[in-house]
Amino acid sequence: MREITYAEAIREALREEMKRDERVYIIGEDVGRFGGCFGVTKGLWEEFGDDRVKDTPISETAIIGSSVGAAATGMRPVAEIMFCDFMGVAMDEITNQAAKMRYMFGGKVKLPMVIRTPVGGGLCAAAQHSQSLEAWFTHLPGLKVVMPSTPYDAKGLLKASIRDDNPVIFLEHKMLYGVKGTVPEEEYVIPLGVADVKREGRDVTIIATSLMVYKSLEAAKLLEKEGISVEVVDPRTLYPLDEEKIINSVKKTHRAIVVHEAVERNGFGGEIVAIIMEKAFEYLDAPVKRVCGKNTPIPFSPPLERFVIPQVEDIVNAVKSLL
């Protein structure tokens, strides 16, 4: 099958959905002719024009607030926030408008809108351009939260997100944009809420998100050489969360590790641990461990950045510590 990059897969999803549905439009800073800071929307402005690929002033609050207003009145905006770190600028609009409007109105409005934004470190972009803030969004009922790891998942999940009638936070990893993977030419959609077992194994379950799926698969390969069989589960969507697949895997392996790049403290990992605790406690042969970003802002200097982000060896060591 054909191989394309994660960025190309996202662009294809955008293009296909914009062609399929006139109500879909893109809005964000430099998303037009410039093609977005990471080049994801390149070519779309040329194809769809000014109205459907809207370059904005530096006004994240208005980007998201206007998307709420447009979504409530029949459009399907796909907003891009240049870095996930800037979501704070629009956090009121996300929290108090997007996530709650339907509920506050007694179910009488739909808000089909997607906010795409890149997360993660790895570029030495330092503390204000490297965060993974998914835990803010999973804590907000009313939002769906998607975090794809492969080009295939990114495309199928973005299409589902755009078709969803709820606000979806779609978190892309900036170190994945250039990563290639097989993506069929034919159209497909991946429903939100279905985890994917990226590798089957018997001894330990790793639940990993986004870029950490790759690091976990690498760790699994190394551990295989030592006779340890690791299963890697990628939830793909953090809400809705496919608890069943996670729990079934843990029931099989009796051991689990949660790996994410975000800061450990009150990260999504805690939620996964709590769910395993509630639903598979009797099956556990060891405590569930977390391998997460250190509890610091992301530092600039390469050796420091590398240190605070989970690495393959950290995952390997954590797995071994459980056995």
């Binding site: 109500r23 109105f105 007694g106 179910g107």
Partner: protein, 318 residues
């Protein structure tokens, strides 16, 4: 619609707001309405003047002080009152309450508990109209306090560069809770801020319903014709506290009494009497009609059931 009929409808709408609000205040004092209540009494000319200049398909965004806006845009008193009571039959099934009443079918994109939140939402509704080429206009109600929020700046800027069909209507009632408008900003007229976005800024007497109507009409016409947004500042006052229970230590009773002398309803009434559109009998007829509507709304609310607790789990997602 002939002007006479329009003026009469506007008068009725103002009385409807006044009577509804008076009842709400009373019911709140009796402990029948939970939560917060922000009374619109005194500002009726703004909501009615503005909404009368709109088509039914146009949009409004409202505020925490929203009852007047909703009624002026055609909100049904029964569903409003039921919502204020937290009843299942309310506009939001009891989930929203005073600060979140909405009826998207009437173009009402919701009261809003976040000051200044309506500005980007209205901008988005206008963007939506523009993209759908459906000719609709969005009108955003907000007050002086909200004009100091970042959302004001970003929204007026965005709307101005894209010439979106939106009217930003600032009800300058001179206070944001206890903060006097003149202390919260170093300019006298909020309308002057329009210049920062290259759009027209208009000051209007917010207690003169016709003046508001005409200013908004002009802005709506410009917006619909692709001329972009307008900032209108309607100078007015709330007669009651910021919320029910506010001791109002920040202003004198005289100040309030002065404003009561400029009652927008009385002023309009006098005008309509002079024009021969209203007379004593008609006034009494209207008042008793509205009284019945309000009573009916209260009865509806009181007789309606509360939602079942488990219904709290519904409507989070579509």
């Amino acid at each position: 619609m002939g002007e006479e009929k329009l003026w009469l409808d506007m008068y009725i709408s103002m009385v409807r707001i006044r009577k509804f609000e008076e009842k709400v205040v009373e019911l709140f004092a009796q402990g029948k309405i939970p939560g917060f209540v922000h009374s619109y009494i005194g500002e009726e000319a703004v909501a009615v003047g503005a909404c009368s200049a709109l088509e039914p398909t146009d949009y409004i965004t409202s505020t925490h002080r929203g009852h007047g806006h909703l009624i002026a845009k055609g909100g049904d008193l029964k569903y409003m009152m039921a919502e204020l009571y937290g009843k299942k039959t309310g506009y939001c099934k009891g989930k929203g309450g005073s600060m979140h009443i909405a009826d998207v079918d009437l173009g009402i994109l919701g009261a809003n508990g976040i000051v200044g939140a309506g500005l980007p939402i209205a901008t988005g509704a206008a963007l939506s109209s523009y993209l759908q080429r459906n000719g609709r206009v969005a009108l955003c109600f907000f007050s002086d306090g909200a004009s100091n929020r970042g959302t004001f700046h970003e929204s007026l800027n965005m709307a101005s560069i894209w010439k979106l069909p939106v009217v930003f209507l600032c009800e300058n009632n001179m206070y944001g809770i206890s903060m006097p408008q003149r202390k919260g900003m170093a300019v006298e007229d909020i309308a002057d801020r329009a210049a920062a976005y290259g759009i027209p800024g208009v000051v209007v007497d917010g207690n003169d319903v016709i003046a508001v109507y005409e200013a908004v009409k002009e802005a709506v016409t410009r917006a619909r014709a692709g001329g972009g947004p307008t900032l209108i500042e309607a100078k007015t006052a709330r007669w009651r506290g910021h919320f029910e229970g506010d001791p109002q230590i920040y202003r004198t009773p005289e100040e309030i009494e002065d404003w009561k002398k400029k009652c927008p309803i009385m002023r309009f009434q006098e005008k309509l009497i002079k024009m021969g559109i209203l007379d004593e009998a008609k006034i009494r007829e209207i008042e008793s009609m509205i009284a019945r509507e309000v009573e009916e709304a209260v009865r509806f609310a009181e007789e309606s059931p509360y939602p079942e607790p488990e219904e709290a789990l519904e409507d989070v997602y579509a």
